[in-house]
């Protein structure tokens, strides 16, 4: 057994985190920054933070993750990191010529209280930042929230620090896609496009972290939202933020500061959340939904209905980020499954309430914890076994020990491909997710069937 020391008996833990279902803020900020075209993310802290974030993002996306660090030493930790950040900005703009540098802090620079805003102002004043180039910054203390919080903070900072209100409406709709895959961002843009909506999606890591192999390395790949587009988001007709945890702060800040009316929707994972997203798009942009979209919806519904016998009543354990887990749980309930153990590592009061609402039909029969960890999830599974586990790659240890069919979803996925190219949002994404779930469930049925019950047609 790989997790041989995990006991069935659950002892309450007040302080010790075991097998976390989250990581720290800066990695989310780095990921978000990569969704701006021509951007070099910068980690203001020790070298290790940047190395760890780059490594994890690289393993998840299997793409170059270019980012720099302030390389704090003990001296910088005592005297402050201003000299390091100024040197870093000079080195980056001279050597790597980015259009924009997105600085995020770390627990180190936060604890010593570096004033990044003031340092960046000084760099503009000194000419360390060349004319026409930009530096944005966000505060991402690792000891608050999670990687999702860091993503949200960077997205909010890119919005409020780059947006300009000219007063001339651009007629566009802002969409903040949340901490999702580049494939999901492509799909969200495609759906908006099908409705004929001119949208600005930010951040947009498509074309950055799902790039082609061409024989040429591009430090700044073709994709990413342009600075020009980001500057104009203050003139947009509205904003839709997908996911309360990852996207709400940015669209609300735009509303407060630039009077761009905002709404926050769930991530469009699954039938109902996609319905709400499409409906929100329709209303916000004042357009009608074309038949092609309704057709895709109908196809997803068709497959769900066809496959009910394989789904109905099956128990599921889920761990992941709150926006994803809320939408996923709703999808599972929609298709007839029974999510019984639900964990997110990211704190947030609304989570448990939302999950309880979604799973209301099952009464109090549901285990849900926020913030919780994978150790607890595993213990719950030992006490009440499940038919399916949905989790990031770390779930594979539980899945193997307990012999549970396993679908990888979320961040990070370190041992499979596909997530950055094939979406799980939208109706098409729902179909893909359904195919993955049914694939592992039915493979299990085939594996375990006695010979006389091993059937050609299922």
């Amino acid at each position: 057994m790989l997790l041989r020391h995990t006991p069935k008996e659950i002892k309450e833990r007040k302080v010790l985190a075991i097998n976390p279902a989250k990581t720290c803020q800066p990695i989310g900020a780095m990921y978000a920054a990569l969704g701006i075209h021509g951007c070099l993310p910068h980690s203001h802290g020790s070298q290790g933070c940047c190395a760890y974030h780059r490594s994890t993002l690289t393993r998840h996306y299997r793409e170059p993750i270019m980012a720099a660090t302030s390389s704090f030493t003990e001296g910088a930790s005592v005297f402050g990191g201003q000299a390091n950040l100024l040197q870093a900005l000079l080195t980056m703009f001279t050597t790597y010529d980015p259009d924009i540098v997105a600085v995020h802090t770390t627990c180190l620079s936060e604890t010593i209280g570096d004033d990044v805003n003031q340092i960046v102002k000084k760099a503009y004043k000194d000419g360390t930042i060349p004319k026409g180039k930009h530096v944005i910054h966000t505060s991402t203390p690792s000891y608050v929230g999670s990687h999702v919080t860091g993503f949200s903070n960077m997205v909010k900072s890119m919005a409020v620090q780059l947006a300009e209100k000219t007063g001339r409406a651009n007629g566009k709709l802002n969409i903040v896609p949340g901490f999702v895959e580049p494939s999901d961002m492509v799909e969200i843009k495609r759906i908006a496009g099908m409705l004929g909506i001119d949208s600005i999606l930010f951040p947009d890591t498509s074309g950055v972290l799902n790039g082609p192999l061409t024989g040429k390395f591009h430090m700044y790949p073709k994709g990413g939202v342009s600075i020009k587009a980001l500057k104009s988001i203050g003139d947009s007709r509205g904003s839709i933020g997908l996911g309360e945890w990852a996207s709400a702060d940015a669209v609300r800040a735009l509303d407060a500061q630039f009077k761009v009316p905002c709404q926050v929707q769930d991530l469009p994972i699954g039938l109902l959340a996609t319905d709400r997203f499409v409906d929100a798009l329709r209303i916000a942009a004042g357009v009608s939904v074309p038949d092609a979209v309704t057709q895709e919806r109908g196809q997803l519904l068709d497959v769900i209905s066809d496959m009910q016998p394989h789904l109905y009543g099956k128990k599921v354990a889920i761990a992941g980020d709150p926006d994803q887990v809320i939408a996923l749980t709703e999808f599972l309930v929609t298709i007839g499954m029974k999510p019984v153990h639900i964990v997110t590592g990211t704190p947030g009061k609304a989570f448990i309430k939302r999950i309880k609402e979604i799973t209301a039909r099952f009464g109090d029969d549901i285990n849900v914890k926020c913030p919780g960890d994978l150790f607890l999830l595993h213990q719950w599974i030992k006490n009440e076994p499940v038919d399916l586990l949905i989790c990031n790659t770390y779930g594979k240890y539980i899945a193997r020990d307990e012999d549970i069919p396993f679908v990888r979803h979320g961040f990070p996925i370190l041992d499979r491909i596909g997530h950055s190219y094939i979406p799980t949002v939208g109706y098409k994404g729902g179909l893909h997710l359904l195919e993955k779930i049914l694939g592992v469930l039915m493979d299990r049925t085939d594996r375990d069937a006695p010979e006389e019950r091993f059937e050609l047609v299922e």
Binding site: H5, R13, G48, L213
Partner: protein, 543 residues
């Protein structure tokens, strides 16, 4: 995409090209860490190393915590490794290094699949985290009843002044198990190397010497600086056992805390990764009288030399003969594989930028299949790893190194036991036996090659553009940036998903891997037909 090879590139020109892109101050600093090898006369070549990385340069390096928790202590399976800090550090070092372990039974302790963290929150930063740390140790003890718990300090811990050592002492007394802390905050030192040092010193202080049981074996050694990446340690063990040599401990691949406690009973220390652990070998010699030698089990020739060195140390004909028999047997498949693979790899070129020893050790494997190393360097080595141990007295100790504790070690009053008398040592040395000797990477480098310490992304790009290597070796962060060029990239930290590559069996694996990477079909398909001949289709349309 690899174009025509230009082996005659002058390394001085590459250095100039590299430096031209930097701000002047940065260029001056980097110049000291970039050393062209212009002729076969390499005496006096210097490589600046173990110095601060320029902020913003895009370095390969990680931090002190990564070196301590991830590299050195990561492979020890029966200690609960508790990270005291915000969640990230523990999360990123959770199962990501491919250091394999093989517990002896299904119920033997193995915590390597777990991640333990105090998950510090803002109130801990404000009010201090010691109380939380002690409570976390208690909870870990209550659930798991481990024999040892170690605590790893992350950046904020040092800054807010949590005394992890006091917490460890208190809980050790309370719980009656071994508990110790590492002051391995990420900002210490200039790279992972500081963390290696802190980890090894702490183990030396808190664990080594706790168990005096002497293993019943004729030839007992420790293997220092072997981390069992991809199972290297497993096949080294196998080979040594085949020769009749027993390992008392490995630092730290596939290790247990009990092995460390007992390591002072071995009769010889064989040092693999000089960088991460040579000081432990020195301390074990000073305190317990165990001599040390440098070995390498990367590449057949090095493996042969290392086995012979170990056998020669014990001066026992039976062992010497047995080693020769094993070598003869093991070399048969290696020679066959070299013959097969060399045909396809001969004349191709490689470069490697990793670690503190692999950029040196792996050169042999490439040479064996007829390949040439154009450029190499370490990520976190010190000058002695390039220039050889003779420079150690000349190395300037700067502020960053001074912050890393050096233990003052004296002879153990009761247990100091010189394994060989002074006369015996001298006699061996006179026969050319190389105790405590390491000549570093420089002797491996050909004229026309370039040594770069702590290589940056820009430097990597320049090397690729000017040298056009056929294969590049580095780490995960570099992997896809290089492969986008159409150049296969081999990870020499984690071995990608491959390995083991040590000793004879591993060499065969490595030759097959390099053959696969160089000769894979995929690199021919970078262009679509319409990209290869666009003018042709245009012409037809016009006509």
């Amino acid at each position: 995409m690899t174009g025509e090879r230009t082996h005659t590139v002058n390394p001085e020109d590459i250095k100039k090209e590299i430096l031209a892109k930097y701000p002047p101050k940065v260029a001056r600093k980097r110049a000291k860490q970039i050393t062209p090898v212009t002729s076969d006369e390499k005496d006096g070549l210097q490589v600046g190393a173990n110095v601060r990385t320029v902020p913003g340069i895009i370095t390969q390096r990680g931090c002190c915590y990564a070196g301590c928790k991830g590299v050195i202590m990561g492979p020890t399976r029966d200690i609960i490794n508790l990270t005291h800090g915000p969640i990230g550090c523990g999360f990123y070092s959770w199962l990501t290094r491919r250091n394999q372990t093989r517990p002896p039974s299904d119920d033997a302790e193995n915590y390597m699949t777990y991640c333990f963290s105090t998950d510090m929150q803002d109130e801990d930063i404000v009010f201090g985290g010691e109380k939380k740390l002690k409570a976390a140790i208690q909870e870990a003890y209550d659930i798991f009843k481990p024999k040892a718990i170690s605590i790893f300090s992350t950046c904020p811990v040092g800054l807010i002044g949590d005394d992890v050592h006091a917490a460890a002492r208190e809980m050790k007394e309370k719980l009656g198990i071994n508990i110790f802390g590492f002051s391995c905050e990420g900002y210490k030192g200039v790279s992972q190397s500081a963390g290696h040092h802190i980890a090894n010193n702490t183990i030396f202080k808190h664990v080594v010497g706790l168990d005096d049981t002497v293993m019943d074996a004729k030839y007992k050694i420790n293997l220092l600086g072997e981390y069992n990446i991809g199972g290297d340690g497993f096949i080294i063990d196998e080979l040594l056992n085949k020769c009749g040599i027993e390992l008392v401990s490995t630092f730290s691949g596939n290790s247990t805390v009990d092995q460390f406690a007992n390591c002072h009973t071995a009769d010889l220390n064989a040092v693999m990764c000089h960088r991460s652990i040579n000081y432990v070998a020195d301390m074990l010699e000073t305190k317990y009288g165990i001599p040390w030698i440098k070995v390498s089990f990367t590449g057949p020739t090095s493996t042969i030399n290392s086995l012979r060195k170990i056998a020669a140390y014990f001066e026992d004909q039976e062992l010497i003969d047995r080693v020769e028999e094993v070598i003869a047997e093991e070399m048969i498949p290696v020679e066959a594989k070299i013959k097969e693979v060399k045909e396809r790899c001969q004349g191709k070129t490689a470069m490697m930028f990793v670690g503190g020893s692999r950029a040196h050790h792996y050169q042999e494997l490439f040479r064996d299949i007829g390949m040439k190393v154009l450029s190499a360097g370490y990520e976190f080595a010190h000058r002695d790893d390039y220039e050889g141990r003779h420079v150690i007295p000349d190395i300037k100790v700067d502020a960053d190194s001074r912050n890393i504790e050096e233990l003052t070690i004296e002879k153990d009053e009761t247990r100091y036991n010189p394994r060989k008398t002074e006369e015996e040592m001298k006699a061996l040395e006179e026969k050319g036996y190389p105790f405590k000797s390491y000549d570093g990477l420089i002797p491996e480098m050909n004229a026309g090659s370039l040594i770069i310490d702590d290589i940056s992304h820009h430097e990597t790009e320049t090397l690729i553009a000017m040298y056009k290597p056929d294969i590049f070796c580095a780490g995960i962060k570099e992997k896809y940036a290089i492969q986008k060029h159409g150049i296969p990239m081999k990870q020499l930290h984690s071995y990608d998903t491959g390995g083991p590559y040590a000793v004879f069996k591993g060499a065969v694996n490595f030759f097959e891997e390099i053959d696969r990477m160089l000769n894979a079909n995929i690199w021919q398909y970078l262009e679509a037909p319409w990209q290869k001949a666009p003018e042709l289709s245009a012409k037809y349309v016009w006509e």
